[in-house]
Every structure is written in C-alpha cells, then in structure tokens.
C-alpha cells in the first residue's frame, strides 16, 4: 500500500526531472520518458486507489489525504488527455511538479483508513468528490497554461503569436472541461446533501465558495465567447479562478468552519 503511494510520488518526481532535463538539453528521449512516467504515475495511482477502495470497502475519497491523492491523479489525467493533441514540454514539467507536490503534501496527512461517519456513506458523495476533483484537475492545468501565457506574453518575449493563440485555445478547453465537471460536482453534492440532511443547499462556506468559483469561471466563459476576451485579461481571470478553487479546497477547511470541515 504505502509502497504504491511512494512509488507514484517517486514516478512523478522522476518525470519532473526528465521534463526539466528535456527543457535544458532538448534531447527528445527525456520528453518521451517524462510523458511515459506521468502515465506510469497515473496508472500506479489508479491501482493504489483501487486497492484502497477494496480495503476500505468504500470509495477512497473522504479526507484530506485521500482527496490530495485524487487531486494529483486528476492533474495527471487531465494533462495526459490534453497531451494527446497538444505538446507543451514546459507543461509536462509543471504538471509533473504539481502532481508530485500534491502527493508530497498528502504524505503529511494521516493515511490510515478510518470507518466513515454515517453521513459520509453515500454513493452521491463519491460521485461528488470524483467530479469536483476532475474539475479541479482541469482548472489546475488551466492555471498553469495561464501562467505560461503570461510568461510568453511579457514584453520583449520572442514567442510567436501563433503559439500564444494555441495557448489561449488550450486555456479555453481546460476551463470548459473543468467547468463541466465542477457543475456536475456541485449538483451531485446538492443531491447528496438533500439525501443526508433534507436540504440541497445551506450556504455552508464550502458550498458558497464552490459557487463563487463557479461564478468566476462562468464569467470567464461568457467574456471569452460573447465578448471575445483573450490574452492577459483571460489569463488573469483563470488564475483568479484557480485561487478560488484552492480557497474552496484548503482555505475553507483551515480558515472557515462548516459542514464540510471534516474533509
């Protein structure tokens, strides 16, 4: 168990090293290795989550440790799907770094499998966490792309306009993906709350912050599609959106209190 966990963390870390070596040396071998390693890390994590699922007899998505593992998994998954069509070597490094970071952070939390309190024993909850984190994975990648765009767009940069346009397209794609899954996540969460407490919405801080995040990305999509917003403005909105994701995920747990404070 712990072996699989450590193995996936190490795999992401080695992927990061390979990706950085590729950026510096341009030896293609390292690009291929980095991508294969991220794939391997994702597969190992999938096995890890599967084993944990079987051992616990429930979906392994119920506390900070488990959700961070899921976060790392979602980042790798979104990156790999994106990679089918788009090759961005620096994104390989950034995604590997983020996944490794999430796993390293997970290792600082209690990993013991605990029985769940009755309110958490729900299939809706598993769907809820799964979809939210796929959405967060999309937003994490979009924030990396937005930072990449801002770097490419700074004064005196030699990056071609074409590259920047493709970055904008990737930004929109990943945010669309994240938005679809965040929406599904919020809705399944509401259904779960209604079956557990008889209220689908109670303005609990975590719910409220997920709504704030949803509004920010809805605004992004409208500005993008209706107003044709692009460039730095669009990049900044997506970075603000991801900060809101992070606050929804961490800030609410540690700074505010509410129904969700157990996870």
């Amino acid at each position: 168990m712990t072996l699989l966990f450590n193995l996936s963390l190490a795999t992401y870390f080695v992927a990061l090293v390979c990706a950085v070596v590729f950026l510096m040396s341009r030896a293609r071998f390292f690009d291929g290795a980095a991508n294969l390693l991220i794939l391997a890390g994702g597969v190992i994590q999938t096995v890890y989550l599967g084993v944990r699922w079987a051992q616990a007899g429930r979906a392994p998505f119920s506390n900070m440790f488990e959700s961070l593992v899921l976060f790392a998994w979602a980042i790798a998954a979104v990156y790999l799907v994106l990679r089918i069509r788009t090759r961005l070597p620096w994104l390989t490094a950034a995604a590997a770094a983020l996944s490794a970071l999430a796993m390293a952070h997970a290792s600082t939390f209690e990993s013991e499998i605990r029985p769940l309190m009755p309110a958490l024993q729900s299939n809706w909850l598993s769907f809820h966490v799964m979809t939210c984190f796929l959405g967060y994975g999309g937003f994490a990648i979009s924030a990396l792309v937005a930072v990449g765009f801002l770097v490419a767009d700074r004064k005196g940069s030699a990056v071609q306009a074409e590259t920047k346009t493709s970055l904008e397209a990737v930004l929109t794609q990943t945010i669309s993906f994240g938005f679809l899954f965040l929406t599904l996540g919020i809705l399944t969460g509401a259904v779960w709350a209604n079956s557990a407490w008889g209220t689908y919405w109670s303005w609990d801080p975590k719910e409220t912050w997920s709504l704030i995040t949803w509004f920010i990305y809805a605004a992004f999509l409208h500005c993008r599609f209706m107003r044709g917003w692009r460039g730095r403005r669009a990049a900044w909105i997506s970075i603000i959106g991801f900060l809101s994701v992070l606050f929804t995920y961490y800030g609410v747990n540690f700074l505010l209190s509410g129904l969700h404070s157990y996870a």
Binding site: R114, P115, M117, P118, A119, Q121, S122, T165, E168, A169, T172, Q173, T174, S176, F177, F179, L180, T183, L184, L187, A190, V191, W192, N194, S195, A196, W197, G198, T199, Y200, W201, W203, P205, T208, W209, L211, I212, F215, I216, A218, A219, H222, C223, R224, F225, M226, R227, G228, V252, L256, Y262
Partner: protein
Amino acid sequence: MSDSRDMKVPSVPAEPRNSFFGFLASLKFALVVVLLITLACVAGTVVPQGSQQVASYLMRHPEARPVMNVLSVLGLTRVFYSWWFVVLLFVFAASLAACTARRFAMIRRTSGATRARVIGSFITHVSLILVLAGGVVRVLWGQKGVIQLHEGEIATQAENVDAPIILPFSVRLAKFELELHETPASSAGSDKLHVQWMEKDLHVDFPVELNVEHFVIPADTPAGAEPAYKVTVLRYVPDFAFDGASGEVKSRSDEPNNPAVQISVAGDGATNTQWVFARFPNFGGHSGAVPMPLKFNFEAAQNPMTRGQQAPIKAFKSTLEFLESDNVVATRTIAVNSPFSHRGYTFYQLSYDPNDLKFSALQVVKDPGVPVVYGGFVLMMAGLALVFCVGPWLGSQAQT
C-alpha cells in the same frame, strides 16, 4: 471540449440597446449582478453569520464589537437571509429570463454547431431559472420540523420554532438500532492495564479482559520458576459510583465518564483486590492490603460513542410505521443518507441519544420544490453537454 474556431459570436437580434429589456438582458448587466452576488457570498463566509457565531466571535475578540455592530447594521451578519440578498437573486433570475427570452428567437436562425451551442446555452439558462424557482417554492410552501420519539411512541405532528407541522397521518417508532463498526483488533483503540514494578524496572501492558489471568514475570526470574504475580481483571465499570448505603459499586451510566476496573493481584502467598481508575491514577483503594511492589494504571480507550464525528458508528436506523386511521400503511427503516417519503413528507434520521438507545430524533421535510430543482439539475447538465460536447463535436465534423 470546445475549440475557439467554431465559437464565433452569433449576432444578437437587433434589440434597441437603450430599452429596459435590452439592458436587463445584456451580458454586462448580468456580469454586474453576478459580481455583486459573488461579493455578498464572500462576505457571507468571512463575516461571522447568525447570532451564535457573532456571539462566539465577540467572546474571543471583545474589541471587535463596534466593527461587528456596523457589519450587523449593514446586514452583513445575516447575508443569505437578508432582504437585499433575496432581491439580488431575483434580479439575477430576471436578467437570466430576459436574456433567455431574447435568445429564444435566435435558435431558428442557426444551424449545425452554432445551433447546438445556442440551444445548449438556452437550456442552461432555463435550468438556472428552474433551480431558483424551486428555491422559491421551498420558501413559500416548504415545511421543516423535528419529531422526537421513544420506541413505541406515536407522533401526529412535528415541532417547529414557528408552529407545529400537523401531519396528515401519524408515525410510530417501531424500533431504533445503533450499529457500531467492529472494534479494530489493534490495541490502539482498546482499554489497557499498565503494570509497573519499579525495583525490577518492569513495564507491561495487559488488555482489559475479564477473568483472564496475566502473569508478571521480572527479567531476573530463573527459568521454570513460578511467576511472581498473577493479575486478573474482575470487573469493569464505565462510570464508577460508590453507593454508600449499600456499600456497593455501581455504574452511574453506560458512558465512560469515570471508567474503572477491579483487579485481583495474587503473589507472595497473598491476594489483593483493588480498584484502578482511568481518570484518577493515584487513587487506588486496596482491600486486604498486603504491601506489594506493583503499580497499576488503567488506560481507558476513549469510548467510540462519545468521540463525535470520528466515531466508528456504522449506522443508526429507525424503523417507522406510518399509520392512517389506525392502519399501518407503510413500514420503513430509515437511516442517515436513506430517508423515506410518505405523502410528500420526507423523514430523515437526525440524531439519537447515546444514553437512551430507545430514543430517536427525526427530521421531517416537505419541499415541493425538489422536483423542480432536480429537473433544473438534469437540464443544466444536458445544456452544458450541448455547449461543451455536442457543439464542438459538430464543429469538428463540419471541418473535416
């Protein structure tokens, strides 16, 4: 996923820009409303909400009272239930409705990928209106109350702060059950008796098992020699009380408020019986006290039931009988996360009393808005799928 190429903005039907309707339906107005709601939401999570949170905040930060007074006058300590927030939500709905109405005419003038997107956004906007409408239905016609029952008791109404909810039937608690997870085999979660023999530098832990003999054997005992002492747990009480009148030891409750074990220690040709208290390690009453070199500590595991949310409680369930004119029309066992609806009233397992396992508290909710809201949820996912999946797919088909 969407692609920027097929996302050209379709021309908005010529609507006089200065008309009130045009203003209401505009994206600019919608964005301003969304921004205001977002700011209100931030305030509603950062500022303490409700009199309880405000009071406990002021306890910790008494110097903040003037600030809190200002916030409270501004309505920021009750954001989500204030009139201005409700007004904002209505303006939000109106803006969505106006935009949706204006967009409706456009659908027919589109085709292919654009049409999928326009229909999708139309459906998404309608779904948001439905969700908000469902919320209004709940506020206007919804009811929520609590029923507290002992096994065998019947209720015909639910308590509510305003007025009791009179049910069109009655409900009887046939049975309440509390299921615990099996206690883990590891010793971490169980009771331990710690034995110490200073002179021999000996420390051992025994599990607390009734009537099982445990031997205390110092390291310098020659092989084959009799164990120096035998320790046996005779009795365990979770909540120790000494009844002076009868001279008997009793347990005041099943809660581990004052856990204690009675042990017998045999060795050196004598037997001592004594009580060891988890909470009072230095308070050990000997009876028939022969001086012995052993010291005992009782390390009681925290009782699972009092550990609140982390408790390994598997489930708590109430079996309810629904009665109409004295006939049982339905019998159902409800648990947390599996409520049951009868004639529009949904029964939720709310809580129980660890001191009285024949008691159950139920929540009763009548919310005719739920089907509307759930309908909105389904439409929203359908609309988003059209915008983000079907549209781009049609777009890419058209290009190849």
